[in-house]
């Protein structure tokens, strides 16, 4: 049986053979002035992998995503996508931000089309893709609404639809469900899994909710507090659809919770992996 037994406690990226070079390769350290945020964060992400990253709040998860998409240059090191330095002009990257990010002056439809328009896709293709993704996230009938006319959960769905409308090499999601209530959050998690299974994408999903991480991820990376480094890199080999109440799931989640607790107990000193 391939489940909880496969836990690995060391930050060894999966990739080993030459032909499976990771889609994304990260090896960075970052500081804001005197504030050390990341110290030797190194990992790879395989194509179409769903990677979850968890860590205490303020440990630099959002900063890491900014670096991953090339909006922020790391103090040391680099991020490679398909072997090239990450660059939003060259790579197809999308981002679901932590804070509300729908553009209030655009309708639901135009919000979702934003990425495709910037990428200068042909209009006919934009129409087809937006229509398709609107069906997937259940926003049919709301195309002409403005963000202030729909609920917070729907706005977040618009942001997610926008991120999945482009043929992104890499989708970054920054605690996208924090502001949602529990039932909505569960439905959205399911929707993201559905989209991911229908339109294969490489996803890096940041959360501080370990149940969410174990439910969604092919793999969970746990970061220490500032200066952050990787404490654990745990493959989640539970079969999908996953049952959060199953013994295997609960065990895996408990394991992650314990790791994160250790990080908290050791505080900033947990820079070196166990």
């Amino acid at each position: 049986m391939a489940l909880a037994g496969d836990i690995v406690n060391a930050p060894t990226p999966v990739a080993a053979s030459v032909d499976s070079r990771p889609k994304v390769e990260v090896d960075i350290s970052h500081r804001y002035g005197a504030l050390k945020v990341h110290e030797g964060v190194r990992f790879g992400v395989q194509e179409n992998e769903f990677l979850c990253i968890a860590g205490p709040s303020g440990c630099g998860k959002t900063t890491l995503l900014d670096i991953l998409c090339g909006l922020l240059a790391p103090s040391v090191g680099q991020v490679l996508i398909d072997g090239e330095r990450a660059d939003p002009k060259r790579h197809n990257i999308s981002f679901v931000f932590q804070e509300p990010s729908t553009l209030p002056w655009l309708t639901v439809w135009d919000n979702i089309a934003t990425g495709l328009r910037i990428k200068k896709q042909p209009e006919a293709q934009i129409d087809a893709m937006v229509a398709d993704i609107i069906r997937t996230v259940n926003l049919t009938g709301f195309e002409r609404y403005y963000p202030h006319q729909i609920s917070g959960g729907m706005k977040q769905r618009v942001a997610i639809a926008r991120a999945f409308a482009t043929q992104a090499d890499l989708v970054l999601m920054d605690e996208p469900f924090v502001s949602l209530d529990q039932p909505t959050r569960e439905r959205m998690q399911q929707e993201v899994l559905d989209i991911w299974q229908h339109h294969k994408r490489t996803i890096i999903f940041v959360t501080h909710n370990l149940e969410e991480a174990v439910f969604l991820g092919d793999r969970v990376i746990i970061l220490s507090a500032k200066p952050a480094s990787i404490v654990a890199d745990i493959p989640i080999k539970l079969q999908r659809p996953r049952d959060p109440l199953s013994i295997e799931f609960t065990a895996l989640r408990a394991h992650c919770v314990r790791l994160l607790q250790e990080v908290h107990v050791k505080g900033g000193g947990a820079a070196t992996a166990p």
Binding site: C69, P88, R90, L103, T107, I118, Y145, Q149
Partner: protein
């Protein structure tokens, strides 16, 4: 429809009450220095039909003033918006030039009249003074509006590989547009304040301010009041037009939540 009829009816009622109180006051005082509303109407009809003492019609006076206002106003907007955007986006340019720019704001356009009389004549004189009144409201509200652009909205565009120009036209401008329009409405008010004062200072035979001054010298109060009412009305209509534009452009803010 029923919802919109009520305020209209109430406003008509208010106007009627206002006119009645005026009429009563005028009758009570019974002096030529307190003309009744009806005399104002008569003066208006006279001015509209046969013009003033020199035969210049009311419409020529109104249009002269309006035209000057529109030219100066347009200049204020055309300079205020780009400069506001530039200084808002490059805060250090503003920070470095602040001490030069800001004191000008506190010189009322009227205080420029003596200089304007020396340097300009005709349309440029009035347009220059109106420009001074219109520029700062537009410039300042644009400058402040740029600060409202949310970082996350910029990131939305940048992460898909948008250029700086795209961010400017698709993120910054839509965010700032409501502030620009609000600044334009303030500027329009300031423009009317300035045009009357500028026309009173002379150098023209046309314009509502000029017309009022002529009748002031003749002690003809009804004609002066006609000029005042027209200035108020034209300003009101211009403001309403700008409000309509706002409502149309900013459906995303005005529409009632469903």
């Amino acid at each position: 429809m029923t919802i919109k009829m009520r305020p209209i009816a109430l406003n008509l009622l208010s106007l009627a009450v206002f006119a009645a109180v005026w009429q009563a006051g005028s009758m009570a005082v019974g002096s030529p220095f307190f003309p009744a509303p009806l005399e104002i109407v008569r003066a208006f009809l006279r001015l509209a039909a046969s013009g003033d003492t020199q035969g210049t019609s009311l419409w020529i006076h109104s249009w002269a003033s309006l035209y000057r206002v529109l030219v100066g106003f347009a200049a204020g907007v055309l300079l205020g918006v780009p400069l506001g955007l530039l200084m808002g986006l490059y805060r250090n340019v503003y920070a470095a030039t602040r001490s030069v720019i800001e004191p000008f704001r506190f010189i009322p356009p009227i205080a420029w009249i003596p200089l304007a009389i020396i340097f300009f004549s005709g349309l440029p004189r009035f347009a220059f003074l109106i420009f001074l009144g219109a520029f700062f409201p537009v410039f300042t509200s644009t400058l402040v509006g740029v600060q409202r652009v949310e970082l996350v909205h910029r990131k939305v565009a940048l992460v898909y590989g948008a250029s700086r120009l795209y961010v400017l036209t698709h993120i910054v401008v839509p965010t700032v547009l409501p502030d620009i329009l609000a600044g334009m409405r303030i500027a329009m008010g300031a423009a009317w304040l300035t045009i009357v004062a500028a026309e009173l200072a002379g150098g023209t035979n046309e314009g509502l301010g000029r017309m009022m001054l002529n009748y002031s010298e003749l002690l003809k109060i009804p004609e002066i009041i006609v000029g005042m009412i027209l200035i108020g009305l034209i300003g009101f209509v211009l403001n309403e037009i700008l409000l309509l534009v706002e409502r149309y452009l900013f459906k995303w803010r005005w529409q009632v939540t469903l």
